[in-house]
Symmetry: C2
Subunit: 193 residues, 2 copies
């Protein structure tokens, strides 16, 4: 059973598609372009993915999984919630500065597939909700659940907003201001009342 080389091609298509979708958007990136860039026959792609939409879902799930693993490792580090939040913002800072940063693929997916019943929309929403849940878990260590839920929403909004501003070329100020606001908001939610 040559399961390894088989998965290799499949994975290679996913990763190539990721790069192209990120750069050019979902609708504007055609199948032909993907298979050409991945150097793979069309039938190879269609054997692994029944349709373009399902390839997109796969790409999103793959990226979500990678990010989730990072959050997993973070969760088990023996540092304070504030430090964890700080680390997440540092990740984003580095991401924003990377050579071909083009904004958040999940946000773009929500933009291009506006129907909430569409599988692509669902996959993107899944990631965002997952991140929110992670943030909530982190700050639940220092505040009650009710307040943590609201605070997590605020953190997520700051992150999403910063990502958008970064896409408009204001990465540095955006991440700095967002981090400051996030930490001061957590501090405020932590202490009183």
């Amino acid at each position: 059973m040559t399961s390894s080389p088989a998965s290799d091609k499949r994975q290679h298509v996913v990763e190539t598609a990721y790069t192209l979708f990120k750069r050019g958007g979902f609708h504007a990136t055609g199948i032909d372009r993907i298979i050409a860039e991945a150097d793979v026959a069309k039938m190879t792609m269609y054997r692994h993915f029944p349709s373009k939409d399902e390839l997109i879902v796969e790409v999103l799930d793959y990226r979500a999984m990678r990010f989730d693993r990072q959050l997993d490792r973070l969760a088990h580090e023996g540092i304070t919630p504030e430090q964890k939040i700080g680390k997440i913002f540092s990740w984003h800072e580095r991401w924003f500065r990377s050579p071909d940063f083009h904004g958040c693929l999940f946000a773009h997916a929500l933009a291009e597939f506006g129907d909430p019943r569409h599988p692509v929309f669902k996959a993107a929403a899944r990631q965002k909700n997952g991140l929110k849940q992670r943030l909530q878990s982190i700050i639940e260590e220092v505040m009650p659940r009710g307040r943590a839920e609201s605070a997590a929403a605020v953190l997520l909004m700051l992150i999403e907003g910063a990502t958008l501003m970064a896409q408009m070329g204001q990465a540095d100020t955006a991440i700095r201001d967002a981090r400051k606001a996030a930490l001061s908001f957590v501090a405020a939610s932590r202490g009183p009342q």
Copy 2:
């Protein structure tokens, strides 16, 4: 010179295109669909707009202008900056609840036209930067310019983030949390240090 009916057709195309782009995205919405829905001949559209891209820019500029007018009126109201911010969040709250809310068209434009040199990208970025500028003007009444710039960025990020969460069906909690965070952040930036 029948300038009025001529502009009518043109404006009607812009507004129809707006509705369709909002609902279905830019690439996924074809010219044929737009002219069918607007009940207008194809040549009528192409006489007014040299290309689809320029129609998109026109749609964005039109919506940006409408929003800007609203902000203009707000600027001249004799209320506190905090009340102005509160009003802007109330507008968003109502918007999020409107029957066919599909997220921010400008953010979607940034997602679909990722090239910063593309006219559509520029038009969308223009609107976001304009809004940020407006927010900054509002809070400059109660804090020095330097701090106001950062605070305006934070407010914008919260608004953008809330819009994204609203698109995922969490409109109510998103706008509530964002407003609370925004006002508490302004309060913190206003007073000390």
